[in-house]
Amino acid sequence: MQESPKYWKGIEELENSPEFLHNALSEFGALPMKEAHPSTDDTVAPRRDFLKLMGFGLAAATLASCEAPVRKAIPYLNKPEEVDPGIANFYASTYFNGQDYNSVLVKTREGRPIKVEGNPESPITRGGLSARGQASVLSLYDGARLQGFAIKGQPADKDKVDQEIRTKLASAGRIAIVSPTIISPSTKRAIADFAGRFGNVEHVMYDAVSASALLRANGGVVPGYDFSKASVIVSLAADFLGTWISPVEYAAQYIVNRKVSSDKRTMSRHFQFESNMSLTGSNADVRVAVKPSQLGQVAQAIYAGIVGGGAGSYSNPELTNAINELKAAGSAGLVVSGSNDANVQAMVTAINAALGTAAINAAAPSYLRQGDDQRMANFVSGIGSYGAVIFYHANPVYDHPMGAQLAEGLKRANLLSISFNDRADETTSLCQYQCPDHHWMESWNDYEPKRGYLSLAQPVITPLFKTRQAQESLLTWAGNPNTYYNYLRNNWRGVLGGNFQAGWDKAVHDGVAMGALLPAPAAQVAPAGQASAPAAKTGGYEVAFYEKVGLGNGADANNPWLQELPDPVSKATWGNYVSVPQSLAKEKGWEQGDVMKVKVANKEIELPILIQPGQAKGTIGIALGYGRTKAGMVAQEVGRNAYPMLTLVNGSLSYADVASLEPAGSREPLAQTQTHHTIMDRKPVVQEATLAQYIKDPKKVTEYDKISTPEGLEKPSKVSLWQDYEYKNHHWAMAIDLNSCIGCGSCVVGCQVENNVPVVGKQEVINRREMHWLRIDRYYSSDHHKNEFETEGKLGTYAAMEDPSDNPQVIFQPMLCQHCNHAPCETVCPVLATTHSTEGLNQMTYNRCVGTRYCANNCPYKVRRFNWFSYYSNEKFETVNGHMFTDLGRMVLNPDVMVRARGVIEKCSFCVQRIQLGKLEAKKQKRRPVDGEVVTACAQSCPTQAIVFGDLKDPNSRVAQIWRREDGERAFKVLDAINTQPNITYLTKIRNSKTSNFFAPEKEEKHAAKAEHHNA
């Protein structure tokens, strides 16, 4: 029988704090009345205000409804042939902002982009799309974008700007173009042409979060990793599923060997050595928390084990296991490292070479990182010797540790400074000329993310503002009258060959093509170094800087969808923090939310602390990408900027350092969602088992609830008050594979975009009123039960828990409306606003809802959201939800889904608008819908295909096959015992650990005892 580990969402739940208990039992937090009407005297109830408002509201509503406004219907003057009002068009394009590459399809309605979806044609991203990619459509309508050319912030005529710049460039002397990684062959050529015209032009590429060391160890390129070919993966703090280089691509590869079925009972094995609890670490079979300074030693130990040589001082039984398994795997082994230390990376390269790994495709290295930290540092220190500098989407004043120095340098009057950036950001506002580039959705461009893999971007909307494509600006100044489109086409003539027009049309249609255009990047000069562990700084607290899965390096910080996307592991939104291990907090008596002065070298910032289970002892973690000061309203002063704390070590930026912490004496609440919407008693909610158990008997990995009846124990569905629905036409259902879900949050943003879900902002998240229809529940699990606190004492339990070998395991569970066949919400609605459809959907009718919230209180899954405010008109939300306030921003709204008013409940609709559309298309073509034609936004955005949606009535649909195949094996319904009969089935998570930490044999007895205790 299965053991029952303790699952917990946060420390407060583990401790069972009074506050947690209070909130867990109430669906909604405190009522908003008080804070909406701040009153000096708390005893004065705002009853009068309420009555006044009611009276006025009634009168206003009556008056308003008497007179219908005259509405205009304005047709096109000259309708474009391919645009039909009401029909969406999809255009293949590419999203790359210097971080992750995504081949995408842009959905446009009446000529305006409303959603970005993954391009299934792409051999790299395979239809997946990152959360950032999903959210990027909002940046097109960002009110903070520069709306035209400007000289020192004053709007100026394009021609005048061109003329001045040309004159100044001619006599500028040394010119630098500073950009993040550019993977566009034609852009690089345009830059080369520009350099050819002016001479003495340097192109300095740097990455805000750099992989300089990796590039040095691999001849200037990122190795062409293919995780699908690896059966043993050892990652040294490389968050390759979340933030490292190309997470969508890697996740799609990684999951190939992680999916199991009774026919395929094999899985890859994944070791993760890291100090911060990362998305990748939380998915690992074995996660070992190590200090950043120990990572080099881990690398050296592996190097010693595989290649030979002396091992370092660090040892750990799991490390020995990892080395042995790597050895056994041979060419199916792969070691990756997120370290930016050239020595570590050199060792990793040597290890992979010694393994002869098949998981690196030497023919197709990745170009996604090309930044050279040393060169960038040289540029900043030598800014005085340049006559002109052009910033091409680069914002080094913000995201480079030497930003302050650069800002000083830019003030020199005779330095010509030009920015192509889309907004007056930290760097652009210091430049003399602002020549904003088009948004990527307004531009033509090409990309070569990997050697031999090409990708195109095409404009999907006429430029909204008087901007000009940066490449065209460069060409103009270089005296080339060509448009960039023609320039790009000419550049492609060589690759497509044969019938160019046909090849071009196909490439534009597909968005991807095969062929190599980019010249091989020059190898970066590696400083002399040995394949040995570097002498790392020690002492104090070791700090590891990292990127957030949603926000990345901070370039998109003004996107509220990304700001409100909870961090996959900490579930924190809106701002960064210092993550500290439990042991440290206990030792020092710090509490979550205490503001700390963090001092690294001579830089100091103040951040609140967050107690993070799994954080390596003696370490802290700080996210980069926050603390923007000039990105726009949304990002303004959200979190603190940690970039200045980075230091250049041995020619590359170091993301690990030593910090001192000291309380600042104030408190700042963190907007965490982790214990919101708590489902009590986790046992029937998430299920997991080990691969060993699965291999032995797939039918025994899932525990099914039974209920007592006079005939003995029976399935809960045997006893029911309600009649079952009979579905004749469709029966929409979903299967969510907990084994495939990596928790990346792409679905959360995808759902938000598709369904016009509002952003509520930090305070409302703290008030437990976030509106996401789909959340990803993250459960920590360990065998530490709350009664251990009594028997062994709190400190002892925490100490055991924080032991690196015993850190918590993590399960992610996407939680959305379960569309129960016996839905508890439906029976309690007094106005029948939530009803069941003949296709299995739990329908929510907003215009009928009167806001009693009975349904939300009766929902065991806590997936119903109440609109406490008019998020589209209440000034309180103008900053965070600003896109619903302006004509510009409203263009992003999905016109097929209404924006919900205040006072109604809303929830996941299974994307009923997509279901209706799919059915209609089928009806028009006089056939049944084909499987895969109707997919929800979440299923579509999933890079790992963890969510499968379809029609159970179609026996050949993937969802029907999974339901059949996994029935009695991995398939389970959440809270089966209460017999809600959901239309979503989850598949038990299988971990590839022979002896799970908490399934350790010596604890077997204790467990048995506890299981009995539980049953009693």
């Binding site: 219907a73 047709p75 209404m898 924006v899 209609l920 028009k924």
Partner: protein, 443 residues
């Protein structure tokens, strides 16, 4: 005796009232029938006589013709009609003019044929102002089905107009129906007037007879007191007015009327049935859809494929009005709009609330519903008004009553089978397939 007579008089009055009411209802019903049947311009015209003319079409397979119908509406109707020259030539007799393979090649790529120097192709090209017909990615079979449909269509008006006089006959459809309606209306009116006159004469006669009788009785002396009392009886209006039952009745009636009116008033808040705003250009549907029989989908291009029917853009107007009526002040407004690059701002008549989702193609393409069913006799409106209530009750009612258009649609095959197994007698309506569920329209 006199009491008997008086009673019979009141019976007469009752009869009179009933007759009027009945006649009025009959007339109203007639009108309703006419408006329901409507007049079907263009594409819609196909449906009405389709049943009758089905066999006349000849050898065509109905399924093929039906497919051709849909394809024609989706692809060709913007520029072609069967018997009229729209942008391109009338298609009637196309199969006789050109061999089928030629037509297929032409539809798939006309410019190639013109370029290749095909004599007929070049002639057609020149004849129609060198306006190129776009290429259509239709298969051979699809084009064949369109031709089959055209063939079936050309036979259809024959019974009405007879032979080759179709140019004049193009308006027959509209006019016949109009005359029919007028005829029916006149007949009912005449009967009514005659009835009214007869009844008035009857009433007058009766009153006269009653008075004469009274006089005769008064002259007689053998009447006893009781008879005199009856004879001289006068209605005591005051006592009636003061009586409790009268006050009660009037009061109740008053309350009921006020209640009814206020409920009606409240229900009408936000309703805009009959809304007929002035438009910036005096465009007449009566002229275009009625007299000229231009297919609705010619201007409302996406009515068969999209949620929105699409208000035509100025370039569609220009297809004809670059040559027709170029001096009209109303047409000049279009020219001005194009010149100034400012789209024409029509006043929207049919406004659904944001909370309701409506899709035209679901109703037209899939449901096969005529435009007039909801938009009323649009081909008779000079200025368009909102014909239907567009309330939820109106929607639901139709969904409850209308049988699904399942014929030949593979989507419904199994559903029809299941429905017939369960309750074959009942019609398979929209609502019995879940068409009245909330999230069919609200999301």
């Amino acid at each position: 005796m006199s009491s008997y007579r008086l009673r019979s008089f009141s019976h007469w009055l009752l009869a009179l009232f009933l007759t009027f009411t009945a006649a009025g209802q009959l007339a109203a019903q007639d009108e309703a029938k006419v408006s329901q049947a409507g007049v079907t311009p263009g594409a819609a015209a196909a449906a009405a006589p389709a049943a009758a003319a089905g066999s006349a079409a000849g050898a065509g397979d109905p399924a093929v013709i039906q497919a051709g119908d849909a394809l024609f509406k989706a692809n060709c109707a913007q520029c072609h009609a069967v018997k009229d020259v729209v942008v391109g030539p009338a298609l009637a007799g196309i199969d006789k003019r050109r061999p089928l393979p030629w037509i297929v090649k032409w539809v798939q790529n006309s410019s190639k044929m013109v370029a290749s120097g095909d004599e007929y192709a070049v002639k057609i090209f020149n004849q129609y102002q060198k306006q190129q017909m776009p290429s259509f990615a239709l298969s051979d079979a699809e084009i064949t089905s369109i031709v089959a449909w055209v063939k079936s269509e050309e036979g259809k008006t024959n019974p009405l107009g007879g032979g080759g006089e179709q140019v004049a006959g193009k308006e027959t459809g509209g006019q016949t129906a109009a005359t029919d309606e007028a005829g029916a209306g006149k007949y009912v009116n005449v009967v009514l007037i005659v009835l009214i006159v007869v009844l008035i004469v009857l009433v007058v006669t009766l009153v006269i007879i009653a008075n004469i009788m009274k006089d005769v009785l008064r002259g007689r002396k053998d009447l006893d007191g009781r008879d005199v009392e009856i004879l001289e009886q006068k209605t005591d209006w005051m006592s009636i007015l003061k009586s409790g039952w009268f006050k009660g009745t009037v009061g109740t009636l008053f309350v009921l009327v006020v209640l009814y009116e206020s409920i009606q008033g409240i229900m009408a808040v936000g309703l805009s049935q009959g809304y007929q705003p002035a438009q910036p250009i005096a465009f007449s549907h009566k002229l275009h859809a009625g007299e000229h029989q231009i297919n609705c989908a010619y201007c409302h291009t996406s009515v068969y494929k999209s949620k929105s029917a699409n208000i035509p853009s100025a370039n569609i107007c220009m297809n004809c009005h670059s040559q027709i009526k170029t001096t009209s002040p109303e047409i000049k407004k279009i020219y001005r709009a194009i010149q100034r690059q400012q789209p024409i701002q029509w006043v929207r008549i049919h406004n659904l609330p944001d909370l309701a989702y409506f899709n035209h193609s679901q109703h037209t393409q899939v449901g096969g519903i005529e435009c007039q069913t909801c938009h009323g006799p649009i081909e008779k409106m000079d200025v368009v008004y909102q014909y239907s209530a567009l309330t939820m009750g109106w929607c639901i009612n139709c969904h409850r009553e209308t049988p699904l258009n399942t014929k030949g649609n593979g989507y419904y095959d199994n559903l029809v089978k299941l429905h017939n197994e369960a309750n074959a007698g009942a019609p398979f309506t929209v609502s019995s397939n879940g068409g009245t569920e909330c999230s069919k329209c609200h999301y």
